[in-house]
Amino acid sequence: MDTTTVDERDSTVIRLDRVDKPDDQVLGGKAARLAELTAAGLPIPPAFCISTAVFRQALEHLGIGTDEAGGEPGSELRRRVLDGTLPAAITEPILAAYAEMGRPRVAVRSSAVREDSAGQSFAGQHDTILDVHGDEAVIDAVKECWASLWSDRAQVYRDGPEPAGAIAVIVQEMIHADVSGVLFTTDPVSPRPHQMVVEACWGLGEGLVSGKVPSDWFLVDERTMSPVEQEIRYKVTKCAPLESGAIGIAKVDEADRNLPCLTRDQLEELAKLAVSVRTHYEAEQDLEWVLKDQRFHLLQARPITTRPQRTSRNRLYVTEQPRPIAEGTLWSRMDIGEIFTGIMSPLGQSFARYYQGNVHTDCARAVGVLDPGDPALHMGYLQGHVYLNISFTSYMLGQCPPTRDQRHFTARFASEEADLSDYRNPFGAYPGGSQGRRALTHWVRCTAVEMAQMKRRAKQMVASREYEFDRARALDLTRLSRRELDAEMARYLGYFHDMHVGYMPYYINAFGFYGVLAELCPKWLGKDGQNLQNRVKTDMSSLRTVESARDIWVLAQAAKDRPAVMRLIRETPLDALPAALRADDAGREFWNRRVEPFLRANGTRSHQEMELTHPRWIDDPSYVFQMIRRYAEDGFSIDEILGRSRAYQDGDAAAVLTRLPRAKRTVVEKVIAMYVQCSELRETARMSMITSIWLVRNVVYEVGRRLIAAGVLRSPDEVAYLDFADVLGYLAGTDEPQAVFSKVRLEEARREFQYVRRLPEPPLTLIGEHDPARAVVPAPDGARLEGLAASPGRVVGRARVVEDLVWQADEFQAGEILVTRFTDASWTPLFAIAGGVVTDIGSMLSHSSIVAREFNVPSVVNTKQATRRITTGDLVMVDGDAGVVEVVEG
């Protein structure tokens, strides 16, 4: 077969390096570009293309007219293509070309005639089948690519009734990449002159696009061909061929996790390649590349259509504000409930917006605020992160006596990133006079009511939680009509509202009573008073959160008592484990008697729970089983650890109180009692709040499932790009899903998220607006890190950097120093066996700090840099009294 000219009538299968005049009509867009790049001498993996003419022949043979778009349903045409047998006249040239290549493993990729302006990638992507091997498999993969022309997804967003077009297929040598990534010759979302963006991950590139695996990010100046900024992540996972032969997620070797995926020299080489592609096309390019055995290959090139930059990018307010306000507002995402901390997907952010508009002001009212003001002022958004408007909140809380003086509240958010010395609240102070008096009376009344009913409400919240949980477990959402599902959503959102509003007073009151204690103790008792205060803080042995560690330990013991079950737990891959247990007699007994009750008590937990895309323990119990493996192996008793705090508490802490006159003593005792009680109630109520989010999540994922079935989404991963308001709109109406979920907006959400995800994390606290370009903090040198002393004690141990809780839980050795970006309640089981805890982000009142104190684990939080400066295996010293971490031996 020697085809040197491309002519629709006789050319059928063409090697890409032999294409003369690449014609999109014949090769499809993708293959035509690859042929051009091959001709230009760029490193494209060997490939041949099966032209659209072959596609037409095949259809003719199968009796399908090419203009059949309206007639038969897509699914039927698809089936006919997949099941049809092709004549030798069609298969032979393909197999001959494959043989000529040497029958390697190949990637089979569709190359449609009408897709592929960059903006269309979301819906236009036709299938790619990786790692295909053997004649039969190649033919099947080709058919699959052809059939993808009628995929639900391709059909759903096809405008108008015109025919589906034609499709060519590329068969290309599979590169089992060491490193993969993308390169934008200019940043498509936020262009900066002369700067290219490179994103790179270990292994194959599949996980990168969907955001499933962590990646490094580089900004390369094309004049010097060297990186001007970079963000090197701790990369625990990669995409790779698994033992089963399928491609999936695997762990990265520990030694490689901290390393940049690309060296400076490699970046330079890659950037040069990119420049030549751009020069060739005289247009900005979006490239997919892979690195294998030190050699780069390009897999795809597409022009970038840069869109005008959104002006609001640096602004946090959701509505237009006068300049003094916009520029003078203090924002923070520290301590605003760990359910928000960290980056959020478009779905998560839009859900936060829902919370802001429908729940937050009622939370403020619940703590006795008479006038919570405009909901739009309460929260702000920056680079996928959610912020609390500290200025407005402190102004508003000026209505309540304990927070009348704004300084207390504001000072907590000071940090080295935000210098508060010149800060003045642009909203001023809440007015006094008659307005202030009315607010005060209101607060007094509310607080009296709260004190009287807080215990009862906590009880009700527990009861309703169990009720809602059991009810939801008995429901099969897939069987509800859209209307019923809408009613479900309304119900869960109502519950979500109530549980948040019910939770908030405990939170604020615990905070308030602690403030009173912190003032009284040193005043009346001096240094001993401070001790007392610290011990009281530690005395929260019945925290629900801590109980979750105990519950896992108990579960681990129960598994240990059943050797057959324990063997299953140890030997079954995590994702197959629940099914494996339920399929086994002993396993089922264990599941029903032990796992189910555990899940009922703890299963709706996850990390950063407001982020709806995070599966809860009950949705993906991998982490729980990782911890069971861990706890079952270590042969220590959790009671020893939990007991640490209680033994401590029994000492002479209370003895100092006898020094006080009776009246003062009563006051302190009362305040301590109230503080402890509010903290306990808060933990109890928190579980109800978390459960309410799980309920909402279930409906969102059911909608996601329906959208996949309707071809609007490709996979559950894409639920992350939905707008929560659209989900509600879809449920409330009867419109076709593709009319509600606009392709353009989905695509925009995806791009925006990919963009913000690779930006350096925005500061925890900031004033006014934020410019990501100015924000890069150079990593300080040296082996010493300073942070906040969150839990007292000094300890020296080996560090373990944990980026991915689920994937790494089984690596963690008892006694190691846990180093991570931030933690929340779901990390508690790991705390129970940690020697020390160091985080990048956090404050004294973070959940993690509280839990560290509870377990008596020395802890330093808010070090900013720990995960970047400390490497797994380093010997580090954690000084939880001074708030210092030192690398003793790197």
Binding site: L480, R491, Y495
Partner: protein
């Protein structure tokens, strides 16, 4: 009556009996029928506003061409003393007519109609039906009339709904045999976050309820449709299932399975509220009982003890009862669908 007969009657001294029967039995029945029709047709309401001449009334009823026939009917009303004819206009006369004409009294006139249309026939025909082996069927009762007439007990049922319904959390209600939808409306007003599925076995009843929901602005929260509880295939999503005044629409032998079915649609911990007339109550209730003992689709009224037992047998826990009308056999029963592993 021809002369001969008359003579015979007189001779046999039946005349006094006939006369007194007419006065004591027949006239009240005539009045009841006349008033029920006058209420239903809107004549009472019209006359309550102001006296009207024949033309106006005929026009109001849309029977302008049949004014003369209408006059015949109206004049009977005058003879019965419920209307008066004065100054070329009809007006209300009797206390009863005036009382029935007041707004909000529709249930009473509907109850009257129910007595005339359903109670009288069964009283009249019961022995014959037994002889013929004939039974009443669902089509022998006008669902819409029944729905209106059961509103006599509305305040009492409403009281039971008020007591049972939780108001401070989102709630999902299934109302079985919703009639015109009054109680669903009440529940939706009591709990603004309630959503409901309202079903009724009869097409036209369900249609009327659906229309009402739209008028009341509840179409978004309440889905109304024709369905039979026994074959309703939905997920166990309900916090509360209500059955008002219709347990006797199910044969005795089906009641446990019907209640079990209701329970299967409840969330674990959800509740059933059932209100019903029971045996041994006032005469009207006993006739209702008679009707359903002669029907081919229902069964006799239950006793309250039977009901409690049936709920228990259907798996409900914590079954409680409450007499809704002091001194009468009208009750509410509540049962809980106990979550697994709890009593």
């Amino acid at each position: 009556m021809d002369r001969l007969t008359l003579t015979r009657i007189v001779k046999e001294r039946q005349l006094p009996l006939l006369l007194s029967a007419t006065k004591q039995l027949v006239t009240p029945m005539y009045r009841a029928a006349f008033l029920a029709a006058a209420a239903r047709s809107g004549v009472l309401a019209r006359l309550a506003v102001r006296p009207c001449d024949l033309q106006t009334l005929a026009h109001g009823l849309g029977v302008d061409e049949h004014a003369e026939e209408l006059r015949t009917w109206l004049d009977i009303g005058v003879r019965l003393g419920d209307l008066a004819w004065f100054d070329d206009a009809y007006r209300l006369r009797s206390r009863t007519a005036k009382a029935l004409a007041r707004p909000g009294r529709e249930p009473v006139s509907a109850a009257l109609e129910e007595v005339l249309r359903f109670h009288l026939p069964v009283l009249l025909q019961a022995p014959q039906m037994l002889q013929d082996g004939r039974r009443l069927s669902l089509s022998d009762q006008d669902g819409q009339v029944i729905a209106r007439s059961t509103r006599v007990v509305e305040p009492f049922v409403a009281e039971a709904v008020r007591r049972t319904l939780e108001r401070d959390r989102p709630l999902r209600l299934l109302e079985v045999g919703c009639g015109n939808g009054t109680y669903v409306r009440l529940a939706a007003e009591l709990n603004p976050r309630l959503t409901a599925l309202a079903i009724d076995l009869q097409e036209e009843v369900a249609a009327e309820a659906a229309e009402n929901m739209a008028v009341w602005g509840l179409a978004g929260r309440v889905q109304t449709r024709r369905a039979d509880l026994r074959t309703l295939a939905v997920e166990p999503q309900f916090d509360l299932v209500t059955l008002h005044n219709n347990i006797y629409y199910f044969p005795i032998e089906d009641r446990i399975s019907v209640l079990r079915k209701a329970r299967s649609l409840l969330a674990p911990g959800g509740r059933l509220l059932l209100t019903t007339a029971c045996r041994g109550g006032n005469l009207g209730l006993e006739v209702l009982n008679l009707w359903f003992t002669h029907a081919d689709f229902g069964g006799p009224l239950p006793t309250i003890e039977d009901l409690v037992q049936q709920l228990t047998d259907a798996g409900f826990a914590q079954v409680t009862t409450r007499r809704l009308i002091p001194g009468d056999q009208f009750h509410a029963v509540v049962g809980v669908n106990a979550p697994a592993g709890q009593p």
